[in-house]
């Protein structure tokens, strides 16, 4: 009697639990896990150069071919270069803004709002604004003397940097908010103690601010890197992967395999590239977990 009614109560609680999880689980299953696993299957098939022909099973050959190809290596190099162009610069600028705004001055709220304002812009808005600013005819940068031939966004040496500049500006607000919150979490008495010990402003920045901020900085680096590896909109809008594939980052290469510009869509190839992208972001995430765990252990 007792055990039966107890079992009934348990069952009722469990079914409520499953019911509440069901919507999310259904979305995840259909739009995350199924597509994720299907990538591996798609990668086994070679897509024909023309639509309506049957796909051909090639097994791991396609993985070997694509992941070992020069174009993948180039795309990976471009993606990594893009991350190196955006992340350190973005964090340095965000930190500069955060430190500048971390003062008790009248009206500082207005400056904080301005510094975080770029979160209101999307990648597309930023890309459209800057592509106009880069334009040799209507743009301001050429007028300021930055007027190379070929023009900035068609220039193999400058295009990636230009896209990176847009990205840094667009993510500046987010970086600022993140680092500001980190700065404000540093206890005031640490600064007071340092000041009593005779530390000047510079010493305090290097000996108190930076070490105390290091977890937040680290988080910003990881989030920024993951963002960088997933960047797509600004490349599509500003350079379209060019010139000469100099801005053909991984996400853009996946996109070009799916859209039929100069050849039939190639889901097989896109799937293999997607797996490559996944492995890299997974690696970044694991590094984050590892480092965070270690930090937690230090704290104890």
């Amino acid at each position: 009697m007792t055990s039966r009614s107890r079992a009934r109560r348990r069952r009722r609680e469990a079914s409520l639990g499953y019911f509440l999880l069901l919507p999310a689980v259904a979305i995840f299953a259909v739009f995350i896990f199924y597509p994720f696993l299907r990538n591996f299957v798609l990668g086994f098939y070679l897509n024909p150069p023309f639509p309506n022909l049957p796909k051909r099973w090639v097994g791991l050959d396609q993985y070997r071919e694509i992941l070992g190809s020069e174009s993948f290596a180039d795309s990976l190099k471009t993606t990594i270069a893009f991350a190196f162009l955006t992340v350190p610069a973005g964090i340095a600028l965000g930190l500069a803004l955060a430190v500048a705004a971390n003062r008790k001055l009248r009206g500082i709220g207005i400056y904080r709002t301005i510094f975080s304002s770029t979160v209101a812009t999307s990648v597309a808005v930023a890309a459209v604004i800057f592509s106009m600013l880069f334009n040799p005819i209507v743009g301001l940068l050429p007028w300021l003397g930055v007027n190379p031939t070929p023009p900035i966004i068609e220039n193999p040496d400058l295009a990636l940097g230009a896209v990176a500049l847009v990205t840094v500006w667009q993510t500046l607000g987010l970086t600022f908010i993140l680092l500001s919150a980190g700065l404000q979490a540093i206890p005031e008495d640490l600064y007071e103690a340092a000041a009593l010990d005779g530390a000047g402003a510079t010493t305090r920045f290097w000996r108190v601010t930076l070490p105390m901020l290091s977890p937040t900085l680290f988080f910003a680096v990881v989030v920024g890197s993951i963002h960088a590896f997933q960047s797509f909109g600004q490349i599509d809008l500003i350079t379209g992967g060019g010139p000469f594939k100099r801005t053909n980052v991984l996400t853009y290469s996946i996109y070009s395999e799916l859209t039929t510009v100069n050849h039939a869509a190639n889901p097989g190839k896109a799937a293999v590239l997607a797996i490559g992208l996944f492995v890299i972001t997974l690696g970044l995430a694991l590094v984050q977990i590892r480092v965070l765990e270690r930090r937690v252990h230090y704290a104890r």
Binding site: A14, I129, G182, L237, I254
Partner: protein, 284 residues
């Protein structure tokens, strides 16, 4: 570093330091705001003036027609409506699924709970770009290409949201749920009348965060729609930019139109956004 009082400073030196601070802050503010400012200015200039050298940094004779052109000829009105529909659907969906899942993980016991929770966290490891290949097929197979549901449904649940709300629910003291059980509140009532009100900061953060993410989506709307009537603001901007340089003022106006709604929402909910953005960092 901070504005601590330096008693040994003369009033003059203190004032000088203050002016210096404002100077630096203002300079930085100008640099950050400049692209937005020039966008607004250019949207009010005639195309010929935009190309003039030296450039005009102030619209002496504002030309508002660019906005009406972007609004009607550029279909920005329609795009805005589409963006709002899709964004609101996604935001509401994300909040509801997150509250449901967060409640199950925080307050209920059932077999495979840990496994399911790990599964939710695992979704955070899969970037959306990795899933587009098949999602495009799925949306096509469902007949959802060029539909609102095709744009919204894949994003109705996030592992991040479920995690955020679960953490907030775990802060609700166990005594409260015990007291509610004694007072005769079942799970549904406890969730809606006690747990959700108490987790309001986290839910608000999730709302703003979800709204922002959905509004700014680019890759998926680009892939999953072709019909101009279904395109969102972000893709609309791509279209606008594609028009000739003769209408560059319209492109700038379009960019301003795309930013205004989100800017208003952010100004209203700035505090919640900060909490949402920093939730991951603070937790560690």
């Amino acid at each position: 570093m901070r504005g601590e009082a330096r008693r040994w400073e003369t009033p003059g030196a203190r004032r000088l330091r203050k002016i210096g601070s404002y100077g630096i802050l203002t300079l930085l503010a100008v640099v950050v705001l400049f692209p937005v400012y020039i966008t607004v200015v250019n949207s009010l200039l005639r195309p010929i003036d935009i190309a003039s050298r030296p450039p005009k940094f102030f619209p002496t004779d504002p030309n508002w027609s660019s906005y009406s052109e972007a609004w009607t000829d550029g279909h920005m009105a329609k795009y805005l409506v589409n963006s709002f529909i899709v964004t609101i659907a996604i935001t509401v969906g994300q909040v509801v699924t997150a509250v449901f899942a967060g409640y199950a993980f925080a307050f209920l016991e059932f077999p495979f709970k840990r496994t399911l929770f790990v599964t939710f966290l695992a979704t955070l490891m899969v970037p959306f770009e990795v899933t587009v290949v098949t999602n495009l097929d799925t949306v096509n197979a469902l007949g959802w290409y060029d539909t609102y549901q095709g744009l919204a449904v894949p994003f109705l649940a996030t592992g991040f949201g479920a995690f955020l709300v679960r953490q907030a629910f775990l802060q609700v003291p166990r005594d409260l749920s015990d007291a509610a059980a004694l007072d005769g509140y079942g799970h549904w009532k406890f969730m809606t009348r006690v747990a959700v009100p108490l987790a309001r900061p986290a839910i608000a953060a999730l709302t703003v965060f979800g709204f922002l993410g959905a509004w700014n989506q680019y890759l998926w709307p680009l892939l999953a729609t072709k019909d101009d009537r279904l395109r969102t603001v972000q893709i609309g901007l791509k279209q606008l930019r594609g028009t000739s340089l003769d209408a560059v003022n319209v492109t700038f106006a379009g960019a301003v139109i795309a930013v205004i709604p989100i800017a208003i929402i952010l100004l209203l909910f700035q505090k919640h956004l900060v909490r949402g953005l920093t939730a991951g960092a603070v937790k560690g």
